[in-house]
Symmetry: C2
Subunit: 342 residues, 2 copies
Amino acid sequence: MKKASLSDIALRLGVSKTLVSFVLNGKAKEYRISDDICQRVMDVAKELNYTPNRIAQGLRTGHTKTIGLIIADIANPFFGKLGREIEQEAARYGYNIIFCSSDENPEKSAQQIAMLQQSQVDGFIISPPINSEDQIRTLAKGQIPFVLIDRFFPEIDCNHIVVDNFDAAYTATKHLLSLGRRRIANITLNLDLANMKDRTDGYKQALRDASIEVDENLVKVLPFSHENKDVALAINELLGKKDDLKADAILFSTSKIGIMAIECISSLGLKIPDDIAVVSFDNTDAYKICVSPVTVIGQPLKEIGKTAMQILLNEIKHPGVKVKTQKVTLKTEFIVRKSCGS
Amino acid sequence: MKKASLSDIALRLGVSKTLVSFVLNGKAKEYRISDDICQRVMDVAKELNYTPNRIAQGLRTGHTKTIGLIIADIANPFFGKLGREIEQEAARYGYNIIFCSSDENPEKSAQQIAMLQQSQVDGFIISPPINSEDQIRTLAKGQIPFVLIDRFFPEIDCNHIVVDNFDAAYTATKHLLSLGRRRIANITLNLDLANMKDRTDGYKQALRDASIEVDENLVKVLPFSHENKDVALAINELLGKKDDLKADAILFSTSKIGIMAIECISSLGLKIPDDIAVVSFDNTDAYKICVSPVTVIGQPLKEIGKTAMQILLNEIKHPGVKVKTQKVTLKTEFIVRKSCGS
DNA sequence: TATTTTCGCTAAATCGATTTAGTAAAAAAT
DNA sequence: ATTTTTTACTAAATCGATTTAGCGAAAATA
């Protein structure tokens, strides 16, 4: 027994499928279908267990009620939680999410965008990898609404939602300074990503404002696809020196870096915060139960996800209406725990 | 400028869209399209930047190259990592993943299954919540292939991939016993879930095999939607007693429980493993940098995801061919760290 | 030369919905 | 009694692909 279609119901009742469509879409009144027929259609629909074929609807109407989500890695709790918020908000309006992990790889994201376009998604939410400017520019010229999250390209005018990374890093660094740390390091990712650059800029500015010269040896920039050994190397370079050259604090620009780094620090037998203070971006679970719970910069994931969907749904609902692009910058939350001492 | 369709190419060249379809699907030889026309079709396709409309293809062919994934919560790193593996394997074959978080809520999962069916997914991968037996049974009667992961219902004959939970818990408990622990507790979730039940059963069996009577006061069963306070209560009941009634070790049946519990234990000023030894299911990042890195039962996420997709794709490729249902049980990996002492 | 085969291609049905334009019959208005 | 309006519905186009059946011309065979 295969799925019932509109025609099946129409055939069964000897009416047109137009009528059936009207009834099942709640347009019975509008098209003055008689109450009697109306009821019978609904009865048969229930009896045959009819559900609309969204693919057919999509072909005809041009919208699929599907959103494409491209992030770096759904296995990364930061993106996982963000994905969850987006899913939740989308579900409220009957939208599904197709997710793609780009691994920060622009070729992958290009291919994923293409595939999602072929799947006729109604919109995109993208956390664009480095060197994907062209893809985003092309997207901006097209008809499909999209919103960038987590990062953006300052030179491209399009919707995006980010946090105030500069301010967050500035605050975190000032916090370390206030606790007497002077040789504060920063481990970050490829600085071509706007959000990463802002974090390091904020860190540097805080140092400068405290009249401390920025020591470029204390800024470690990892490749996108960083692994344990990359982090280990950076940690060794920061901590394996003579006392007065050694770092006494580190700001991690992502939690993925931070977790690897803390693992590494522990295995060196060093204690946080006594030997080294740490602060990290992203309030991930791991930091709560850490050797010394980590002071973090928490991002408003719920708000990011919700706002992104809202902007997207609004554009989807009003196609062609070119409203001003939405550029939202949200505040982070600085959560002090024990990893910086006191 | 909107997207080019087959007809656009056909019109431009003054040929039929049948021909264009043949050429672009690599059937030119088979239908003996002349090389000349063939080339011109491809040129125009490129010029117009043609990409097929998967929705239209889906309507006509009946398959959408889309898989529905229903798990408890994509923000939970366990499911996030699993999702990632599934996505990766799916992508290799040109399949997209629509994900849905059920929150272990059967009403939600029922609705999600319905929605995904309407979206004409080619198959499902589901981690079924408690009380969703009927949904799965209905699914089993239908035509759409599916695979259960993480848990299954013993009484329903369908594809599933799980790990040997009994054995894993047994091993973990024996490990604790071998280190001299005697009052070993277990914090778990609603035991109606087959995987949770197996874990607790394995734990109990290990105790019995060591001639230790199972003390039901040491088994704490949390509600599905457990929060910090539920875990805190359980921990208090286990550790807030006189010395000889107190637990000296705990097996956490999920990492979500474990993380909350360890946070709670720390806040009580207790030390792991001195005051209390812990072992947990799931090798989540948090456990690596924990106060005392946690000994865990790691699940073969890559293999689970890969196998699930393989089984699914095989059934999708051979519809109607009712092969034997695949019931796979994979081994876990016991990773000893420092949380049990020595 | 007549017939068959091959070649190169096309018409049209189909998937399952939505939607525009319209129609026949009944009721209301003139 | 005629016209107009309303009522209750339907036919057919459409979205963009796939696929079956078949057609006319050229080439091969008889």
